[in-house]
Symmetry: C2
Subunit: 506 residues, 2 copies
């Protein structure tokens, strides 16, 4: 076979594996959104079979041989940003990761996580950390073994090898450099709000609004954002999420509560931001890394940009307020755009990450990041997690944690063994601000457009600079490519401070 | 390996294949009911991959060797109705069928059918048989080649080998014996209705009823029938269907039209009958023939039993009429139970099979059966299909076919190459009547129970006698086992004639 044939053969195998993987994703979506309750047993077995088949077919010797043959060909790899070179680079990455884990470890991890997740749910419900502790210890041990299989990057540490699963190339050292000034400036700003600000009115978010009306508003906003319902759909689920089977089928879910329309709208715009990224990936490369997101951090930058930088802006509310009056009606007609704008930016330290405002949110993440590093560096024993957690919440957010359910048991991630994941949320916020600033530098301020419900210029810019690039760049490289600069907390802090001072009357 | 190990190994392979096959079925359901329109391209590729994988993994030499080893063991096969013997018998059947078809033919069939279906849709829309003719010829040629791979059964003919795909063990000769007296008696009865009867009032079926109300009524009736929403769901789709991923997840769809509430209710009960069968298959055998329906004819007996023998009975309307008044309301409160009962049994020869009443329906099937036999016996050329069709409709139903769209192009089956399929519909009607008569022999008349909405005794009997049996018996054997007699048109005709005379005032 010549190199062209090798690449075509490899491409065909990999696209088939993507077809298989995305078939499992359809079953996953169905399970969360449509499946009758009593069907879980058979569904778990279907997903188990598909996962096993996918792993088996992604780790064959044939793939290894084809990869090596292609990599030796300058025609394919000579231009590192070509589709071929990008795919080969990312396939190699995935192949090495998958083949370095012994099957016995993969199996042990899968089995343990299923039990750990149940134990965590029980521990959270019963507010009993001791129920979860042995599983946390086991998950940590397995995560260490997984990280050792990959090996820490040169000059890096063990934790980095796990974080790399979610954010290719990321390291604890670099994150510490980014997060330390952010932590200091955020705590100072929040303390200033607490002591000198006066909280904006948020009583509109207690007005009951029937679900069908919230749904109608959400769809209208999604359409204005540019979400394509011909290649997606919106449903309700217990926890909002986005799933993509290809750029031609990207589905989102949201959650409606009668008394919290702002939360549902925020969730819808957040998932809409994720979905716009997935719909904007190049369909002609579907099933290959060229049509995959660059990282979870970049993904989160898209969701947070639409949720916060658009959805919490004065100009957005200028456009959306008449729609709220018209569609949600009832008790909301008495609130004006300025009230919605200010209320959606209220800063208020609290216990729960997923309910946090834009200013305090990153401190919730930094708590988790610091704890993970202490755990992996053997500076903290799992049994001492609650005490460490509660101390960091006191120090960073100024709140007392009343119990572990509202403390270190609130998130599912560690029960799934997802260590190294949390920082991608804050990376998303930082990327979003840096991208948004660059977008306004390129296109000019967007306030007037947003105030008319015109988001096409913004979406067009994101499509060109980020969505269409797929995995061509590692996230850090993409940031430099798009903005001309390394990622920095500066644009985020500048953006945030201005808005917080304006809306919380400092 | 000892025999026990051989069987366990084979069982594990076959259940895995069932997990794979039912995963594809989830994607199929999603495509019809949930998928956004623009997603069809990737979905077709997903389903293509899954079908290929399934075929590949169902036809391995390993399966052949394991089958042979198990078949040689009296412990497994000695009791022919044991779960092990049943599974081995049906696995052998499927394996031989699948391995007798060369991969090249399987591929040619799949490719041709996709084009043939498009051509058929175009031909039907444009009322132009010549568009479909070349594809019909090709489909027939492929079907012949497929049948030749299987070989006709001893003493049988080529067509039998195809019909066996849907109704194991069925033969044209036996069907002709069953259908000929049925044909004669039905045409005589229908002529009598036409000349002497007076048609019952069906004006209630023109009263517009909003979809949500029809949906509410449908769900209530399904629940009364015993359909378990914890292991299923009801949705809308273009064509009503039932799909099962396991007995724990059996989903139905129906179709609502504002002016035809009786049709929607009939569809819902029909699919509900299919679904009760699937939900009643033994879950402990999920993924094996022991948890599969005995045949399409037996399947159709369950749907037709609930749709017609229950849903068109006087006692059913005694129970259902107050619900119709209450839930559908509006213009329907002026109609009483007797009117609904009689109207739902109106006999009226017509052009379209899927709209036909219980008396004329089987003549639509007999037309198709006779035409298929003529085609396979080389007594009819495909180009002469329209003329043969129109003549049979004139002779059997007394109607003039105005064009091919309402004639020989009305059904999708031949475009899919599904020759041998149509008779299962009439077999279903005959089985239903024979089962129902035996059920009343065993349990006593059910009128009083139905009139109170009590269908549990009926369902319990079906569960014990039919559903729980899976594929333990071939359909003809099952009929003898359950009713003590071979299948006969007598019970159907007795049931039908009584009702038709009563409702069409002969």
């Amino acid at each position: 076979m010549n190199q062209h044939e090798n690449y075509q053969k490899l491409l065909s195998i990999q696209v088939d594996n993507a077809l298989l993987g995305t078939s499992a994703a359809v079953l996953g979506w169905d399970q969360e959104v449509m499946m009758p309750k009593g069907a879980i047993g058979w569904r778990a077995r279907q997903l188990g079979l598909l996962a096993g088949l996918h792993h088996e077919r992604s780790t064959t010797e044939e793939i290894g041989e084809l990869l090596q043959a292609c990599e030796e060909d300058q025609v394919l790899t000579g231009a590192p940003r070509s589709a071929e070179a990008t795919n080969l680079r990312m396939w190699r990455r995935d192949y090495d990761k998958a083949t370095r884990l012994p099957a016995s470890l993969v199996k042990e991890i899968a089995e343990t996580r299923s039990h750990a997740q149940s134990a965590w749910a029980k521990a959270k419900e019963e507010n009993d950390f001791s129920v979860f502790l042995p599983f946390l210890e086991k998950n940590l041990e397995l995560a260490r073994r997984e990280a050792e299989c990959y090996g820490p990057p040169e000059g890096g540490e063990l934790w980095d090898a796990l974080a790399d699963n979610y954010e290719p190339g990321t390291r604890a050292k670099d994150l510490t450099e980014l997060f330390t000034p952010l932590r200091d400036r955020l705590t100072a700003l929040i303390q200033e709000v607490q002591s000198k600000g006066s909280p904006p009115d948020t009583s509109f978010n207690e007005v009951p609004v029937p679900k069908p009306r919230q749904d109608k508003l959400g769809r209208l906003v999604l359409e204005a954002m540019g979400y394509d319902f011909c290649h997606g759909r919106l449903d309700e689920s217990a926890h909002p999420f986005t799933t993509s089977f290809s750029p031609a089928d990207v589905r989102i879910t949201t959650r409606y509560q009668e008394g919290l329309f702002l939360d549902a709208l925020g969730s819808t715009m957040h998932e809409g931001g994720h979905a716009l990224y997935e719909q904007g990936l190049p369909m002609e490369h579907a099933g290959t890394p060229m049509a995959e997101a660059a990282s979870l951090g970049i993904h989160e930058s898209q969701s947070r940009l639409w949720e916060n930088m658009v959805g919490h802006s004065r100009s957005f509310w200028g456009w959306c307020t008449p729609l709220v009056h018209d569609i949600l009606g009832g008790g909301l007609t008495g609130y004006d755009a300025e009230t919605f704008y200010k209320g959606s930016n209220r800063v208020q330290p609290s216990l729960i990450r997923v309910e946090a405002d834009e200013a305090t949110y990153n401190l919730h993440i930094i708590v988790r990041f610091e704890i993970e590093l202490m755990l992996f560096r053997d500076q903290l024993q799992p049994k001492d997690l609650p005490a460490a957690w509660n101390k960091l919440y006191r120090d960073l957010l100024g709140v007392e944690v009343p119990n572990d359910s509202k403390g270190c048991l609130q998130d599912i991630h560690w029960s799934l063994g997802s260590f190294g994941y949390f920082p991608t949320y804050t990376l998303g916020n930082l990327y979003a601000a840096q991208f948004f600033a660059k977008m306004e530098e390129d296109l000019g301020p967007q306030d007037q457009a947003f105030a008319k419900g015109e988001f096409a210029p913004l979406l067009g810019w994101l499509r060109e600079k980020i969505h269409s690039q797929g995995s061509r760049y590692f996230p850090g490289e993409l940031c430099e490519q798009v903005t001309g600069k390394k990622l920095s907390p500066e644009p985020f802090f500048t953006y945030l401070e201005k808005k917080v001072r304006e809306t919380n009357r400092l």
